[in-house]
């Protein structure tokens, strides 16, 4: 899970910068409906992961446990 959260940071940064995708090899029209759906799924997933991150940090704070989250497992994190 924690790798996933750290893995997400660059995506969020890229999204913030409005990084466009090169379409040099995209010979297929992805379709407007599909793009919007994926943008929504992307945003919702991003938000859920951020919420989970803060929830986890909060839990750690109240537990008074200084360990980082490398041992957390079993979270499927489905969108």
């Amino acid at each position: 899970m924690i790798e996933r959260i750290f893995g997400l940071a660059p995506w969020l940064a890229l999204a913030y910068l409005g990084f466009g995708i090169s379409s040099a090899q995209a010979y297929l029209d992805p379709g407007t409906g599909s793009i919007i759906l994926q943008a929504v799924i992307g945003a919702v997933t991003g938000a859920l992961i951020v919420i989970k991150l803060y929830w986890y940090k909060l839990k750690q704070f109240f537990k008074g446990d200084g360990k980082n989250g490398a041992d957390e497992g079993g979270d499927k994190g489905r969108s």
Binding site: R4, G7, L8, P10, W11, L12, L14, A15, G18, F19, G20, I21, S22, S23, A24, Q25, A26, Y27, L28, D29, P30, G31, T32, G33, S34, I35, I36, L37, Q38, A39, V40, I41, G42, T45, G46, I49, G77, R78, S79
Partner: protein, 468 residues
């Protein structure tokens, strides 16, 4: 040296094309796709996917070794020849589900190594026996961080929507897919599905929401194209989408209930002794001919296909009209690891030449010329069930392979009586003599056997002039 000929179905991707040259199957990689292909090869992904049976094997050959029309490719690959090219409008439910799952599995495996798929065409999946294999190496390309799944809409149209139509509404998608070879439009499916189907997250998102966003975009509220092009999908979200689709699709089962022939055990009209003689006759033909590729027309659940394989047929492509029987046959091929691919066919209306230039997707007739044929208990369905003249039906069968077994079922048989039960008998010439004469007009009779006096007749024919 003759020129290689480009496959008429290979034109969409400018990155490369498929050619046939002296019986070999070749794929060009053109300069614009060369960098991507090199990265793919060096990552070890191609070899890994091929070793796992997910991707068709390919070996690099010297591009100068074959005369190709047009400009020179950066790379030239050679693929093994597949036993039979099938199309999504010939797949039963189980085959389509297996193909969809294979596609998702391959996409996930590619993402693990930093690659993705540029499309999701169901035509890029072919079968080796009942095993689906991905055939288009140029669909794999490096993954760009945050990019959306370009093939999502196509995946829905060609895999998910046809599966949902059959699983949730019990309607076969085959006629629709044959008519509209790009697949079933998501908006059309959204209009057909019921309210209760919205309670599935997968259906809600991939069908209803996608259709709504599409129609909303076509109305006044269209976002600018530039903005749409910037849409982002984080890698974990893409992966979750693929995994949840995989889990959902693997849980789908064919709707529509029992079919006429799916209970074959209780549906045969002849005695065990006759069945044993029939098996021995078919077995001896296959053992003598040893056909590399055999077509079993009217394969049902695959009893005689399995028998043919046990007697030395290289691979069997079975065809049947009954979707329930096809799924049982497919499950059997998987379970018993048979080199047997059951496909759907309406023999009175086989797949036509169609698509761009009417040659993109080839018709049944040109694909289905093989080394051996079984046509057991099929002829009466064509002649009596569909009014095809006996001589034409026999000609069509014998055209499939130089040798084979055709079964004649007489009018007195309960199965034929059932076909005639509600209609006038307009077939005074339907008899053994007419059948034998039709065979003899184009082949010689190698062997024949009556399964009972005045009962079913098996003829092992050998076509004049052998292979055509």
């Amino acid at each position: 040296m003759t020129d290689a000929v480009r496959d008429a179905g290979s034109f969409r991707d400018p990155g490369g094309h498929v050619y046939e040259h002296e019986g070999r199957i070749l794929r060009t990689v053109m300069p614009p796709a060369a960098g991507s292909y090199r990265a793919l090869r060096e990552s070890g992904l191609l070899a890994d996917l091929a070793a796992r049976g997910l991707l068709l094997e390919a070996r690099d050959i010297d591009p100068a070794s074959v005369k190709l029309p047009g400009s020179a490719p950066a790379y030239l690959l050679e693929h093994p020849r597949l036993p039979f090219i099938s199309y999504p409008y010939e797949w039963g439910f189980a085959a389509r589900r297996a193909a969809a799952l294979r596609h998702l599995e391959l996409h996930l495996a590619a993402l693990d190594k930093g690659f993705t798929l540029s499309d999701a065409s169901a035509y890029n999946i072919q079968f080796q026996g009942p095993e689906p294999v991905f055939i288009d190496h140029l669909s794999l390309r490096p993954y760009r961080p945050g990019e959306i799944w370009t093939g999502h809409r196509q995946f829905c149209m060609q895999f998910l929507n046809p599966l949902l139509l059959e699983a949730k509404l019990g309607i076969s998608p085959l006629a629709w897919l044959r008519g509209q070879i790009d697949g079933i439009d998501t908006a059309d499916l959204a209009r057909l599905l019921r309210w209760k189907h919205r309670f599935s997250w997968t259906i809600l998102a991939h069908v209803f929401l996608q259709a709504r966003f599409q129609s909303g975009a076509l109305g006044g509220a269209r976002k600018s194209d530039a903005k749409l092009k910037q849409a982002q999908l984080p890698l974990p979200a893409l992966r979750n989408m693929l995994v949840s689709l995989r889990d959902f699709i693997s849980g789908l089962t064919r709707g529509g209930g029992q079919t006429v022939w799916s209970d074959y055990a209780g549906n045969t009209s002849y005695a065990d002794a006759e069945a044993a003689r029939k098996r021995a006759f078919v077995g001896s033909m296959v053992a003598a001919v040893k056909p590399g590729r055999l077509i079993d027309l009217g394969c049902n659940t695959g009893d005689y296909s399995a028998l043919a394989l046990a007697h030395g047929a290289g691979t069997v492509i079975g065809f049947d009209f009954d979707l329930g029987a096809l799924d049982l046959a497919f499950a059997r091929a998987q379970r018993e690891r048979l080199s047997f691919l059951p496909l759907w066919l309406d023999a009175a209306n086989p797949s036509p030449d169609q698509g761009w230039g009417q040659s993109e997707r080839k018709g049944f007739a040109s694909r289905a010329r093989v080394d051996g044929l079984l046509a057991l208990a099929l002829l009466h369905h064509l002649v009596i069930g569909r009014n095809v003249p006996m001589d034409d039906a026999v000609a069509w069968l014998i055209d499939r392979a130089p040798q084979g077994v055709i079964e004649f079922v007489p009018k007195s048989d309960p199965m034929v009586q059932r076909l005639l039960a509600l209609r006038e008998d307009i077939f005074p010439d339907y008899d053994e003599a007419a059948f034998r004469a039709a065979v003899l007009r184009r082949a010689r009779i190698q062997q024949e056997e009556s399964l009972s006096p005045g009962g079913r007749l098996l003829i092992w024919y050998e076509r004049e002039g052998g292979m055509r």
